[in-house]
């Protein structure tokens, strides 16, 4: 009879290896460590300096930040793990908050848990769906090459002008920037979120000449660095960064624009919920809101803060500006995303 020892030994080693590979250190036993998942690149750098360090100094709670891709990818991770993705706070958008409230995979966030939420304008609170908090307001701006325009452009229509259309970027609606760009285009011809056909018609026309069809906003950076792009839609946070380092500037066209609401969500199964609520409350405090808005060049989620005039002119900082800004209906966006993705793909083929 053969000895069973090698088999037992092999399974033992396998079990040890599996345990070693799957164990996580969340710091439960050695002080609080809050696991935050968000965007990478400059966002991560600014977060570490502007949010994480001061938060740790104030509360003693350590933050472990992980760059986890796009907001939709982070929400997909929450959904795949049924609300227990291994992190405590996700930096996402109001679209994911909406989906999280439907799926019941994000923890409830109310003014009882996050007192600063009470100071948020109602227009923004309406887009939290009780499943998180808005921490920044970005807007879709028209980024343009300063040398290509004698005067700053004033309308989205410049992208379709023969002189500029070969330098435009047509963003894929897999990225929410593409969704807002399409809605802006649709509204130029009388369409809108309920009638997107004019938008796709315009996209088809533009795609014949466009410089590229990016899927991520970071893909626009090389075109700005090389100076080959003429005019294209972009988010004001990144736009402000590259307005300082390249020959580009940005403006809000006269037709108006859509806002992207940056949001914080707490997965339903988060291990450190209390620390997560403290963290969200901290980010919504007036001092931190002002600091973050200036650092990332976005609008704050609360109004009544003082900003330099040149900053206030380019970002949503006042109740009047917020009232004028369009916010797309999350339910309609989530419902139509597949169809819009297909229509976009057929338009740019």
């Amino acid at each position: 009879m053969r000895k069973p020892l090698p088999v037992v030994l092999m399974f033992g080693l396998l079990a040890i290896a599996v345990t070693a590979c799957t164990s996580t250190s969340t710091g439960d036993g050695a002080g609080d460590v809050l696991l935050v998942e968000g965007y990478g690149a400059e966002y991560q750098e600014l977060f570490e300096e502007t949010i994480a360090k001061p938060f740790t100094e104030k509360t003693g709670i350590q933050i472990q930040y992980t760059a986890g891709g796009s907001a939709s990818e982070q929400y997909a991770a929450i959904r795949a793990s049924k609300g227990n993705p291994g992190f405590d706070v996700a930096v996402m958008t109001s679209l994911e908050l909406y989906q999280g409230s439907i799926d019941k995979l994000l923890a409830e966030v109310t003014p009882e848990q996050v007192p600063e939420l009470a100071k948020m304008p109602q227009k923004l609170r309406d887009h939290t769906y009780g499943a998180g908090a808005i921490q920044e307001v970005q807007q879709v701006v028209l980024m343009y090459h300063k040398n290509a325009f004698p005067q700053p452009p004033t309308s989205w229509n410049v992208m379709w002008e023969p002189a500029y259309r070969s330098g435009t970027l047509v963003f894929n609606p897999a990225n929410v920037l593409g969704v807002y760009a399409m809605l802006n285009a649709a509204e130029l011809d009388g369409g809108g979120i309920d009638d997107t056909a004019p938008g796709f018609s315009r996209i088809a026309e533009l795609a014949e000449h466009a410089l590229a069809t990016p899927q991520a906003s970071a893909e626009a950076v090389p075109f700005m660095q090389k100076g080959t792009a003429t005019a294209f839609p972009y988010f004001d946070g990144r736009a402000a960064i590259y307005a300082q380092t390249t020959e580009y500037d940005y403006t809000v066209p006269k037709e108006g624009t859509y806002a992207l609401l940056g949001a914080l969500g707490i997965p339903a199964g988060a291990a450190h919920k209390e620390a997560a609520y403290k963290f969200v409350d901290y980010w919504l405090s007036a001092e931190v809101q002002q600091r973050w808005a200036l650092a990332y060049n976005v609008g704050p989620a609360i109004t009544g803060l003082n900003f330099p005039a040149d900053f206030a002119a380019k970002h949503i900082t006042t109740p009047e500006q917020l009232e004028k800004t369009k916010i797309a209906d999350a339910a309609k966006v989530m419902k139509n995303r597949t169809t819009w993705g297909q229509q976009w793909a057929e338009a740019v083929r």
Binding site: P6, V7, M10, F11, L14, S70, S72, E73, Y75, A76, R79, A80, K82, G83, Q99, I102, D103, K104, L105, N172, A174, L211, A212, T213, P214, Q215, K226, T228, M334, R337, T338, G341, Q342, A345, E346, V348, R349
Partner: protein, 303 residues
């Protein structure tokens, strides 16, 4: 699969293989157990869950019953899905064909040539395997951009007046995949060529046949199973390849793999994502089975 450079052909007849001997029965059948468990855990179980996901309904993140064919019905009713399916199949077939043809030429050089460059060529062929597929794909992205090397060369040579929009084209996706998958086709073709007795080709030449006639009438029939295996391998991998389509397709070229990602992450339609994955699996399995059968018949015909 042999990955060595064979000796150049000599006039010395190859030694015939010994008579078929029966392999001894393994004394350690349990050695296969860990690998079997591993395959079950990492392939069979997820595949079963995938199949279940495609015929059940998602209520949020929860799978619920009853059994339904709605995911498949919705997919095949959708003309966009059908066009992506067709694009994926023909692009994969083109990649398979290109890899098989180029692989045969390279393998023939490596096995039959006496050139000193053989080692260098082999290193070049292997090189895609030593770097990440993402790195290789981004390398092509740099080369194929409007101001990339390819367009610069074409412009300098006066072959084009303005840069070609290569990124975001099916050509770019096919090119990237051929580069990534060529080594597999070369190795299978080399393996087949090495098993062909060079004296058969020499006999053909001695009897007056030219090199082309010898290749088509002697060598090609003998290596056909290897070529079919190379095509099968590269076709099957291309069907589900994501990175090349996502990066070099520039958002304009959709394949079944990029569609799965969109359904999973962007629109959160996981039932449809599972159904598309099953479609990839079925096309791959059917094609591989058919080609393996063809390869076996081809081998039997030669034998």
């Amino acid at each position: 699969m042999t990955v060595s450079v064979a000796r150049p052909p000599t006039r010395k007849p190859a030694r015939t293989a010994p008579a078929t001997t029966q392999a001894p029965r393994s004394s350690f059948p349990w050695l296969a157990l860990p690998a079997t468990v591993w395959v079950l855990a990492t392939f069979a179980i997820p595949t079963a869950i995938l199949l279940a996901s495609s015929v059940l309904t998602y209520d949020g993140a929860e799978l619920t019953g009853p059994l339904t064919g709605a995911n498949y019905a919705d997919l095949f009713r959708n003309s966009y899905f059908r066009s992506v399916l067709w694009d994926t199949v023909w692009m994969s077939a083109t990649v398979g064909g290109a890899c098989m043809t180029a692989g045969l030429l390279v393998a023939h050089f490596l096995v039959r040539s006496r050139s000193r460059l053989r080692t260098l060529v082999l290193l070049i062929v292997i090189s895609p395997l030593v770097s990440s597929v993402v790195v290789r794909t981004y390398g092509w992205l740099v080369l194929l951009q409007d101001d990339g090397l390819v367009n610069k060369v074409l412009l300098t040579a006066g072959l084009i007046d303005s840069p070609l929009p290569l990124v975001g084209s099916r050509f770019a996706v096919i090119l990237g995949l051929v580069h990534v998958l060529l080594p597999y086709a070369v190795f299978t073709a080399m393996s087949s060529l090495q098993s062909v007795d060079p004296s058969l080709e020499l006999a053909s030449r001695d009897l007056g046949a030219g090199p082309v006639t010898t290749f088509f009438r002697i060598t090609l029939p003998l290596i056909r199973p290897g070529l079919i295996a190379g095509f099968t391998l590269t076709f099957a991998i291309s069907l589900g390849a994501y990175a090349s389509a996502a990066v070099l397709g520039g958002g304009r070229v959709q394949t079944l793999a990029t569609l799965v990602r969109d359904r999973m992450v962007v629109s959160l339609e996981w039932g449809q994502a599972a159904a598309i994955s099953v479609v990839i699996l079925v096309i791959g399995a059917v094609t591989v089975s058919a080609l393996l059968l063809a390869g076996r018949r081809s081998q039997a015909g030669v034998g």
